[in-house]
Amino acid sequence: MQSTVPLFPEQASTIAHHVDWLYLFLVAVTAFFSLLVAALILFFIIRYKRTPDREAEQIHGSTLLEIVWTVIPLGISMVIFVWAAVLYFHMQRPPSNAMEVYGVAKQWMWKFEYPGGQREINSLHVPIGRPVKVTLISQDVIHSFFVPAFRVKQDVLPNRYMTTWFEAKEPGTYHLFCSQYCGTKHSAMIGEVVAMKPEDFASWLTSGKAEGSLAAQGEKLFQQLGCATCHRADSGARGPNLAGLYGRPVRLTDGHVVVADDNYLRESILVPNAKVVSGFQPIMPTFQGMISEEDLIQLTDYIKHLSAPTMEGPLNNRSTPEQIRDSEVKQVQDQMKQQETAPQKTSGNNK
């Protein structure tokens, strides 16, 4: 495929060839039916060319044929649907061992941050052979993170974290495009993804100047902003203890259960009264307009890295939010499903 006009982009990620196989299957289907129709048309116009001595034969139709050409396309499209859906679910579910990177998009540039605190602009360095999960947010309009060589694309929304993941296979430099039209310099909002051998990546990481890891910077912010005055581990704390919170289902004052993911943490910092943990007062002030997207990422990463308290034990600790054991997760998810349909009712659980 090294001709001057390539037909495929490089297959630089582990899913690229899965996508390409599906693509080729669809190309084959398209080619078959297009050529079939074209061949029939050509045959008919030659064979049944109008001549003075022959009349057209009148045919009303055939129910059998109608059924055949309804069922066959239906069958083929169901194959495509299932195949593509399975692939899609695979592409939407980042492996748990994925390395995390944060990306902030703005008109018209990409900023990336590594947990170690390294930052770069319009370029993203990743190791090969290891899944990388990119958590993305926009500061202004909708952008889209698109790396053709990896076959990944994800719109980047303001006010909401979106994630995508990939695992690079070959070292190299690949295009990073913004594929959602985002204003004047949309076509200049391009960057590069540099895939490196793990050892090269490790040395690249250490060579970059970092002012401490994201979590460390987050901790600094946590102290500066005074979060720690309420979010403490002791029983008199006015805010829930955040240790071990990340990724767990949390029960709210209105009885709903939500998962404490990136978006929940973000919302709780910016709009603290939206989803208050059961057993606590909605007293936290909002930080809307006071901290940047990068600060938020640092805080989130800090909270992620707080491991669960073990010494005090969560059982008698009033300030640990009511968490749910793994064994109960399925049950809770069912409950969440049911909740979605019923209108909510809010009221403090006290008085």
Partner: protein, 96 residues
């Protein structure tokens, strides 16, 4: 179909009073705490009132099937829009 049927004056007045009673009822119930049932009751009464207006004031009760189909199509499409939009919003939080 040539002779156009329409409700009697008594029926018009009856519908009018039913609508007034419905309004008062929905107003009074709004101040009672029925939990999750408040919006359900309020909207049920609204649907009943709207149905009365459609059937009698707008003469659908006496109209052709075509009119009935048209009215139903409107609400059917509205339901398509609501259900499929909510299919996104209500399942976003779910894990998969």
């Amino acid at each position: 179909m040539s002779e156009h049927k329409h409700p009697s004056l008594v029926l018009y007045a009856g519908i009018f009073f039913a609508l007034i009673i419905g309004t008062c009822l929905t107003w009074a119930i709004a101040f009672q705490d029925l939990g999750v049932w408040n919006p359900v009751v309020a909207l049920t009464i609204a649907v009943i009132k709207a149905t009365l207006v459609i059937l009698y004031f707008m003469h659908v009760r006496y109209s052709s099937k075509l009119t009935i189909v048209t009215v139903c199509a409107g609400f059917f499409w509205l339901m398509i829009m609501i259900t499929l939009s909510l299919s996104d919003y209500l399942t976003r939080a779910l894990q998969f």
